[in-house]
Symmetry: T
Subunit: 145 residues, 12 copies
């Protein structure tokens, strides 16, 4: 299976930015851990602070991938356009938040991206990535049947 992990704005800083909140692992380390753990699959990684680059990536993903894992960062709360891109493709997409957004500022409680995805994993830290990937694989295999 070929899968894509998509990271939104400021997630390129993972590991350095507020590590007590987001953990000390960088995105690269998260990805290489996932590759190790899911070595039978091909996992690509794409990060951008650019909403349109993320939209393009989502739009083009069905040509190459069977499923997507997305942590859209702050765009989760503001980008209808990115959510529409997810709705426009016919792929399972699992949404992930490292922190529990319900315990943060009120403007982080709504989740436009989560509404457009198959499901969400929220507040389970870096460990959530492997779980989300598992669930993405299950969703893909469910849809096949």
């Amino acid at each position: 299976m070929k899968l894509l992990l998509v990271h939104g704005p400021n997630l390129n800083l993972l590991g350095n930015r507020e590590p007590e909140k987001y953990g000390t692992l960088s995105s690269e380390e998260i990805v290489s851990d996932l590759k190790l753990q899911f070595s039978e699959h091909e996992i690509n990684y794409y990060q951008s602070n650019n909403e349109s680059a993320l939209i393009n990536t989502i739009q083009n993903s069905p040509l190459e991938y069977q499923g997507i894992l997305i942590n859209a960062g702050a765009f989760s709360h503001t980008s209808i356009a990115l959510a529409d891109a997810i709705r426009s493709i016919n792929l399972p997409v699992v949404n992930i938040h490292i922190t529990n957004i319900y315990q943060r500022e009120i403007y982080r409680h709504s989740d436009l991206i989560g509404e457009a995805c198959t499901g969400c994993i929220v507040g389970l830290g870096i460990a959530g990535y492997a779980l989300a990937l598992e669930c993405l694989l299950e969703e893909i295999s469910d849809r096949k049947n």
Copy 2:
């Protein structure tokens, strides 16, 4: 590890109630699947339509369990008391919704229980249970270190 799966109101009907939304597996089948998959752990199951029975169960859980998985059903959106019980114990609690609550009625969008838990798994169907259990185990082992 001894773990508890807690189900709130109407989840005793799982498998029969709107199966196109909640799947065709009964709670008992979910639990026995989990027991098979996580055979090195002891997994107990408790369901009640009674808010106070759920509160009592949560309050007493630290005597017997190392972690809790909860799907509080409709109480997720109304019970501050159950959320307070979760906050009052010193155990990792992972929250799970079978359906994507963001795609349903507006009064199911808020999640008082999710706010009180470590994290949430939303909309991933029955497959979410095994993932939530994995993540609960990881959270328990994280807290030990």
Copy 3:
């Protein structure tokens, strides 16, 4: 036909509590009047101040009853769980309020139970019970055809 009249919290006080508002008839008198008036049917009565007892009663009702009449009292305005139980069964349920809830406190204007029922009878006093029962019978016979 076997029918169930369900009463929610504080309705056990009917006849004593604010009689200028709720009338002077007790629940028992209402029930025996209904039994007289609808003597060709079997009418059972269940009252509880306990949300879960009400949920259980609703869940189990299809085994025994062809239709339900419910006055959920204050739970009308707060219990999504009870409304979900009504939605989970395949029986006609008619909702009844003795007083005109639109003329009372603002937090009694919303009606979560009414939204889940076939229909509602509001503000017609004790007389509403017999009418609701008639309409329940009609709904049952409609569904048969």
Copy 4:
């Protein structure tokens, strides 16, 4: 007893308009059914799409009628003037909605007319008319005592 059934805007289309929602009976058939069922009473029928015609009818009704049954259609949600007319007369008025307004658009949830009436019958379909008439008769006889 002389009674009046009042129908608001678009209810002249009853039977033709969205019959899966409003039933296949025309207003005339509803009225003749009521006349048959309540043959000891005189039942008149008045429909208008005109708010002021409805207000005038309500204002003049005490000269001729002992009670009123009203389905104000869309005016239920917008006409304070019609509700004031109901409040200005000293007759029992029962409010009726064919559909369950709580299950429809948000702007149909408020009921200005219902607030001004003795009581409401909501969502019980065409069967609600006969029930409402019964309850109106009961209310009239109650007030006499």
Copy 5:
């Protein structure tokens, strides 16, 4: 000067309807009192429960009148169309409420008609009419200069 007093819905009942709130004088008595008090002016009276009749009257008023006194009753709170009619003519219009609308139901607090008029007299009872007429005359004479 030729002036018009316009009364909206249900104000034809003045004197009979809730006299403790609206006084015991009928509209006719109010008008003949005004005619006595302001005998040097011609005062006409128009009442309708019909929004469009009121709009037409307002639209045509500049042909015949120098100023308007309006108590639009319940339309004060709902009719943008009537307010637009007032805005479309080039005459001074004074708005009057017999009762203090700020002490009544919340949906009577907003005043769409008042927003479109030169000014408002609120809560001064029947006495407000003569005052409003005086002020209307003054406004007319002001505009002349």
Copy 6:
């Protein structure tokens, strides 16, 4: 094709009322321009300040017309009854506003009529009428196929 242009309250004043906002053409001139431009079709014109007259006109239109163009004026923001009439007929209806309602008072931003129509043309001035008619013709021909 036989088409109807419907104008709501205060649009009889077109050409005289705030010409810098609504233009200097009267309704009659607009209609005769349309007749010239669309001479192969029969175009009728109906204006009323009366909500019920508009509702009646809409209800009866399918007997005579293939499509409707409506500028409901202030009723756009308040009349659920008129919107329901549009929903009750099986004709294409195109909604038109001369001014850009989004740049005006907040209570002119919502558009109940627009929600019930096929589509809307907003803020394009008098020129919008011919365009709306074109689009109405296209919609009619689309539905035929």
Copy 7:
């Protein structure tokens, strides 16, 4: 009769401050005009920018006055304390606004003082003072009977 005219904050600037909105007459000129026009009564004037001075004045007024005319300026929209003072005395109080507050900023639409008074005169300019005084005199004489 001994009457008091009370002016709230910034009304000492009347005549100088935005004369196109508030007119060119100073408070002193308004008062002397009133004295001339109502020479059979004793009219005192009190202005303060100080909420407590206004409260004290209102509290003490029954010892000396038979009625009060108040333009509370910006305190109309913020001072529950001043409104409570008005409610605590047993005197008729008429409220006056020079401008039409419904045509100004949204935070000037609510009127806490108006809610506590007998009635209000709004938007009639300086001419409103004499009218308000007349109506105050009438209210006083009404209460005597």
Copy 8:
């Protein structure tokens, strides 16, 4: 005098749960302190996490008690049914919160139980219990006179 102290959900954990917020005294110690301090009265204690058990206790209290002291915990913010039970009995009920609810989460600011009680003591810690009891005794003696 026979008095009842009622504790709602999670208050059985008092002394152990977040002691820096709720103090280190257990409910039992609070009760025995009260018994010592008010030894001339009989003080009973009832705690439940169960809404219906609390409702039943309140409903039955007039048979045995002269007054009630209630800390309903999280039910203070959600239970209309419990508030109705308090309103249904004819006993003085004093409401108590250990912490200052105005300094906590927004959903703890409203107090449905407080609205139904005679009065409230908020944020005075464990010391509030003795004070509330004193005030309850005073209220009882007031009502006797």
Copy 9:
């Protein structure tokens, strides 16, 4: 101990103003009762209708007093400045309302002063003063330890 009782606007009228709501005791009588009851302490009294006088008194209080009892009247709902003054001193302050503010107008439900104080006593009538004083003394002695 030297303590200060602070009264806000209109509380100088206590005993005369709406005695069925606020009781028949004047502030002076309340104070002399408190002095009798707490004769081992020095109790001073300060009332003002002036927000700044109250702020000054609060600011200066630490020089002379060990604790404050405040009933800020209507300022409870509007004065952030007075609440800030309370927050700026390092003294225990207990807030008191004679009536149950939750049963009054909606704009009396919020309590800015209560949020800034240690705790509140609400709706217990004049009896609340002695209780509040007791609790203030306890709070002072708590802080000493």
Copy 10:
């Protein structure tokens, strides 16, 4: 005349994405149809998922174009910056939505772009493009005069 058609995010998918909602024509086909229909004008097409690319295009358009047609997709509901760009140029801009946004999710009801444009065409499907272009041409010729 040289004109520009601007398409916002996800409109590159037109024809493939939910064709029952957006039609089966691709953007390229729409453009070539427009070019055929308006062959006397030069029509360019620009699509981007990138907000800043759209802003740049709008800013630079006056150098090359006489008018703009824009369908900003999801940015219609979120981009103040794009609306500001439209406001910053001195060109007629007509806004177009293929679907009736009033019949979709609540967050698609507001239209920031529509507020900044000359006018809007909403819900008329692909046919709306030619109409919008006509109206744009008319607006351009109007401005010239």
Copy 11:
């Protein structure tokens, strides 16, 4: 140039009150620093906890000063009267907040005073005063030209 620095409620405590938030400099030290830094100008200082004293000071300022610097403390969020006073004079007024009000309680986010001033300096600590003074001087010189 003669300039005035105005301080609102509780700012007399500057230097002592929560120094980690407001700094350790007293108002006097701030003023003498400003006098040193701007020795070519005359800078006066006025502080009051009294809203009316502040209003009076603002109203009188044009007689003596060329510009005003104001930190209205808590009155920034509540006093329309003070904002009106600022609007009533023809002097440049610069508003200053020591802390970043957007990072504090929700009721400190609105700024009635800021809306009435030329501009605002927010969250720059004590250093903001000198900057605000510079900008005030520039604004004064701008207005001269």
Copy 12:
């Protein structure tokens, strides 16, 4: 010191766009004025209409700069992602608005960027830039100590 001035969308038009509101100076002129005035510092300028370019610039700034001055234009009101970027770096950032946003459309009143910055300068026109730079320098020197 090396400092960066960041400009958001549409600020490249400064000097041309609505000069009565934003002044006649171009960004380049503002920058060269700042360079002259602060010649002992190195000041760089970066403008983009692209949110991600702004985020990247902010993220990379600590490598090169000691402080940032930002006017994010319309992104001030919509971009949580840009605000998060500011929060993710450890540099003083001062926020600047040329116009007084409180006097503009309601959707320009909130300031997400301002919440994330050290402080804000609002409404002081172009003069605000030099002041903001001064204050930025002071903040930098404060943090060093």
